[in-house]
Amino acid sequence: MPRRQTRGPLDIDDPLADPPSTPPPSKSRNLAPLTPALQTQLPPSPRPRSPLSGDSASIHRPAKDFSFLLNPATYHRLDTQHIPDAFLNSPHQPSPDTPLPDLVRHGHFRLAAATAARELTTSTAPQDHAAIFSLLYVRLACLVLTSHEVLATIEAKPLGDLSRSVYRDAVTHAHLVSWELRVLVVRLQALGLGDWRRGIMGYYALAADARSEARRATGSERRVWRSRLADLGVRVGGALVEMHDLDGAARHLQSLDPHPAHQANLALLWLRIGDVPAAQACVAALEATTAVFDPDPGPRTSDILEALVRTADGNYTAAVDAWQRLHTTYPADAMVAQNLAVCLLYTGQLPEARAALESLIDGSGDGGDGSDDNDGGRAAAGAGRHAHAFHALTFNLSTLYELCSERAREHKVRLAERVAATAPRPEGWERGSAEFKL
């Protein structure tokens, strides 16, 4: 006789239910508000009876059809007009038929996005939800990484509301979409609709899920869920900043569980708002706690914040002192060196600022001695320093070129060539022209 599946108090001690994967709904109702998805679990048609062994994998479930995500019209072609020739013509540029795992591993995110879309639309079965969501995550994440955020928001639309029952396993009600994709989609859909309140509600819905999963899980799995929950708290703060509710973001961060990381982020937020005394108060509170929190080896967070506070105070000479002290102690820290260079410009030391940024690009020795390094672009990295190319670095150096010469464009093109000559790394390699202000 077919057994009709309903949700309700009867399921609490149903011997046929699979205990670990079927959360008793009434228990979780007491502890945390149920997400809308859990409350509307009433599949319309009867299901065949399961074998008494209770193994949910062998329970027959109707195959999910996700072909609405495999429509080629959804996925945009990525053109290369905005990429400097230095990268397009570089020997490091992989061939388009390189396997996707290799592309991802070596940081070729634009090609990975294209390959993921190709595999999604040509070689993935509509029922293979694991592969679909995995490829979709790579596609959307790589679009974001290659400055195609707008395309990512458009391509995230067909997913619709991820709390719908189609995204849940019919028997176990576990969510079929990976956590990282669910989190990414909240932001992309909020951006796409221009509706940050929807985004924040999305994070809270995920948080309710995370909370109930954390209560059910044990050991290391519980730790994973709790860290996801904490991460969502921080992302809500970020969403408030993105919608320009800076005051609200500060109140929100203050309401999170006390943790040095939140205090540090709050200090950054006060600096962003401009309330330097409030930022200073956070730094003082951070200094009072022990430095257990700080990454080792690396500069203390409170020292970095102190240097930023001096910068915000407009006291650039004191800021240069603070950044220089940090740089001398941690010469390999690119962020410190970069910030030092910015402050050097503000104190009238343009040649030193430029040299410092150039040496970060090349990964060559100490750039603080004012020597102009840019014709020795292939200088070997000294003392284990890496060549860097993060956005602020290339943007700032390009700005300095614009300040130093009528022929800034030549310098910027040469900068792109130097970055293209470095070996691809997992953090990414190819850059768009905008990063060089071209």
């Binding site: 991802v104 991460d231 703060g237 950054l268 962003r272 309330d275 962020m335 030391q349 700032n396 130093c404």
Partner: protein, 332 residues
């Protein structure tokens, strides 16, 4: 936005200038945003490096907050507001090609003045630069070298401002073996125009409170402060300067600073309005003298109570301040 009007001297026949002038507005550097991707846990061989979405290499991938400590130079001229300090850097650059054996640049000098509504002729500006004069001399000696100066100017007036920069340099023609054959002093001037806009609109109201018997009169001084700018500001301090025989008591967020509750200054988003109030009272013995400048007719007894001082800071602590004129009680 700044508009540059290049104005060359009557030297068109002598060839293009071999020194260029570039300007960068030095508003505060900004903290870089980043959007860290969520940590991937599914093990399917498609693991994107957690550092790929971070704004700098040593960032903590487990911290997904949007702000990062990396400083970025101003991407655009931005807006200029009355009450803030306008700052920019001027760079005179030696544009001779590297291998130019025939010419040499020396004695590069930059001078600047600010023209504003009250001083159309321009006010000469002091320029800050690198401290040693050695650096100044040698900075532009080699091709590609730059002389950098920094302008700082407090914007006190609304309206059109023009930063006029004059660059003077000596161009020497060499006649082989480094011997100077002839030289001439060349000069050019560039004008950068921008508008100083008001950031804070202030509307005030003064009311005399009902008299309490023989006690000296008390006044309520209220003000509405509106943010007319494009981005949020943090209202650092609002105070009232009074004449010596008056005191002003702030009835605002800074009224009670006891206890260790962490307070912060109010944040005014664009178009937000903050209401502030002060209780002004006479504490000296004598009545304040009749304020001749505000009396509209003889016998009109108005009391000059105070000046409202407003201090704010915008993104990354950019400081600004504004003071109103003397606010008086209503005529009796």
């Amino acid at each position: 936005m700044s508009r540059q009007r290049g104005q060359s001297t009557s030297e068109g026949l002598k060839g293009p200038h071999t020194v260029s002038l570039k300007v960068l507005r030095l508003s505060r550097p900004s903290l870089a945003d980043h959007h860290p991707l969520p940590q991937q846990t599914s093990s399917n061989g498609l693991h994107i490096s957690p550092k790929a979405s971070l704004s700098f290499p040593s960032a903590d991938p487990t911290d997904s907050f949007i702000l990062s400590p990396v400083l970025t130079l101003p991407p655009a001229f931005g807006s200029a507001y009355v009450g803030e300090t306008f700052s920019c850097t001027l760079c005179a650059n030696n544009e001779l090609p590297e291998n130019d054996e025939a010419r040499r640049i020396s004695a590069v000098r930059i001078a600047a003045e600010m023209q504003m509504p009250s001083q159309p002729a321009g006010l000469a500006l002091d320029l800050a630069g690198a401290s040693s004069s050695d650096v100044n001399e040698n900075a532009t000696a080699k091709p590609g070298g730059s002389l950098q100066k920094i302008v700082r100017f407090e914007l006190k007036e609304e309206g059109n401002h023009v930063l006029a920069v004059t660059v003077t340099y000596t161009e020497t023609l060499l006649a082989g073996e480094g011997r100077a054959a002839s030289g001439r002093v060349r000069t050019f001037r560039k004008l950068y125009q921008f508008v100083a806009q008001p950031l804070m609109a202030v509307r005030t109201k003064v009311e005399e409170l009902p008299a309490r018997g023989a006690a000296p009169p008390q006044y309520a001084l209220e003000a509405q402060l509106e943010n007319l700018g494009e981005s949020a500001v943090s209202l650092q301090a609002v105070t009232v300067n009074t004449k010596p025989n008056y005191t002003a008591l702030s009835l605002n967020w800074d009224l009670d600073l006891s206890g260790d509750k962490q307070t912060h200054s109010p944040v005014l988003k664009p178009r937000d309005i903050a209401q502030v109030a002060f209780l002004v009272q006479n504490v000296g013995g004598a009545e304040a003298p009749e304020d001749a400048t505000t009396a509209s007719k003889p016998g009109d007894r108005r009391v000059a109570l105070g000046q409202l001082n407003i201090e704010w800071r915008s993104a990354m602590g950019d400081y600004g301040s504004l003071a109103t004129g003397w606010l008086s009680s209503k005529a009796r």
